[in-house]
Symmetry: none
Subunit: 210 residues, 4 copies
DNA sequence: GATGAATGAGAGTTCATTCAT
DNA sequence: GATGAATGAACTCTCATTCAT
């Protein structure tokens, strides 16, 4: 993937017709499968098109280059995650802080273990991409959801633990722990949830002290 | 980098002569420079050999393929880190837990910020590599150093916080937080140290509660 | 542009309805603009159709292939030029040979400098095209106009300077000199007209001898 | 051929070893043959490499891109021409102006008719290339040779006909007339030499007046 | 007739790896 | 052991052309 001008990372056109959305969907699904099966090594535009049962040309009709395809993939995945996160936060509105954290931990684990290879590959690509793209918007959204959660429990938290930076750190921690375990075994070890919870509540200063 | 048989990842030979070690060193130094200056995009065996002032053929005399070179690079870097870590742990033998954690945090930050591009690229490659290589040995060693540190302060910690898994989690958390910040700015933000400390001591259950 | 059978270079049909002529006109105008703005690099059928505000399919309704479009473009441009030339010749019917040559030189210069990129691109394509197409008809017509001019001044000219070959040579010389200058600067150098005149009258044997 | 940075047009390395020169030679010879046989349509790097009996990779070892190959081709051809021109000028040092012009005309004709397709293709490409490359140096050299010729006969010429611009115009005229004829028949028409001479001496103001 | 999504051959270029010298 | 020219599979991307709607 050669250096790509920033502007070129967004999809070529917002497909207005139904058929177009199907195409985009097909391509992203194919890209997902390729990434899941063959990791980044086998991920190339020809292969994606082939798996999608479509010609390369069609791929380039919707994505100006390979990077844009990857961005769209990440974008979509992060949108899904953000939505799930927002729902969890909303669903736990009345519950205790502990329950909320537990729900968040579950979400993080589910998300990563549903397809570890795919999730890991996306994370990698995400890091490689230039900062300042729309991808950061989704991170903002993820952060905002977590921040909303923190604010729900503001009275139970030290005041300096209710901030965007804290929200971001929680997301980073969760991702790091889950991803590392996910790379070692297909099923989450039984203590992962426990450890993740410990890390999150510890950072928030609500851990059980000795 | 096409799929490489696992066995092929180790250096072609343990060079027994002094001259050979010089060669390996030169190559790894060149690889480091290439990675630091041109990131993964410009990292290829021909370029590394060129920068090393050596022929590609020579490179392949010591590394059976590109992956092996990368592995050696990571290996070496982790060895350095492990050594630094062990020294820090040893140097802090008599000090307080808080001081020890602070020292560890500093080490993590220094390590990543000394050359962010290089560090990020290596992390990237490390994750891509097949598991089960000798790289895990160094992770073991890193883990062991942290574990030793935990054991030094066993009485101040909850008993279940003195274990290899905990050590590994601490390393993961540190790396995640520092790496994320390092990708956004060339200098560490002033609060990074604080937040990292909070995450580590929080996970250990020694954070200051409200 | 893959090898195209000679027969395929003429427009698909002589559009008999008014609407069709509008279409052809729109397409040629669009082609002209694309060629002028983006040179040969950006000249492709999809782009032309887009600029024309028409679907590619429609383009192929009127031109069997890209080459035919180019031919039509050149054809039209040469027709314009031929007409202009004929008018100049006619307008200078009573004037002196020197005045006539001056007028011809002006025409050549104007023609090329009005839109250098476009003119150069067309010349380029014209040369690439297989010989023997209807394009030669226009060259005939251009030649005929110049020949008519020569005949008007037959008595002032050496007898062997009144022939189709001479006419063609004059056109070639004019084009070569003007095109070369046009490629170097956006505005004609002040001496171009002078030099061109010298070349033309020199070839005709009516130059001022030392 | 996508837009190429100016600097990238020169050969990748000045091959210092004998083997390298052989390679460059082989490649240029192959390029010449491809251009002569299949014109610009079939001229692509893979084909050139194939005809050279060499892998594409080798081609790119010596030419950073396709454009550089073309430039080298033109460069070489112009160098040959320049040398031939200089020799002709030198050889005619003592002779009359008319004889000198005749010799120059012969040279122009020979040059273009030796391989019309190839010569035409090169001329086309040359025009397309960005100005300001080393190619202009050869044009300078060609111009200088003609200028030297003019200076030899300065006393027989109007004073304003001894200048670089005049030299350039003579070259342009010669090229235009010969190229046009060369495109129409494999053998030069018997009157070409005559017409060319008339054009050149006419421009110089030494034509036989009626 | 018009549309424009889809096609896919083909072009330019890279780079891990080999092997004759 | 060292060299580095040579290799060629693989990859990204373009664009002339078709055809179902």
């Amino acid at each position: 993937m050669p250096r790509t001008p920033r502007a070129a990372l967004r999809p070529r056109k917002a497909p207005s017709q139904a058929r177009s959305w199907v195409m985009v969907d097909t391509l992203l699904a194919a890209a997902t499968r390729v990434l899941a099966r063959e990791s980044l090594a086998g991920f190339n535009t020809n292969r994606v098109a082939e798996v999608a049962g479509v010609s390369v040309g069609s791929l380039y009709q919707y994505f100006p280059n390979k990077a844009a395809l990857v961005v769209a993939l990440i974008d979509r995945e992060q949108a899904k995650l953000a939505q799930a996160l927002e729902e969890v936060v909303h669903a736990n509105a009345g519950h205790s802080l502990a329950d909320g954290l537990r729900a968040l931990a579950c979400l993080a684990i589910d998300q990563q273990y549903r397809d570890p290879v795919f999730a890991a590959a996306l994370d990698h690509e995400e890091r490689r991409l230039p900062i300042g793209t729309q991808l950061r918007q989704h991170e903002q959204r993820l952060g905002a959801a977590v921040l909303a959660f923190l604010q729900q429990h503001a009275q139970e938290l030290p005041p300096d633990r209710v901030s965007p930076v804290v929200a971001r750190d929680l997301l980073l921690i969760a991702r790091a722990l889950v991803e590392a375990d996910a790379q070692e075994a297909r099923k989450a070890p039984p203590d992962l949830s426990e450890r993740l919870l410990r890390a999150l509540s510890g950072y928030l200063g609500v851990g059980q002290r000795r």
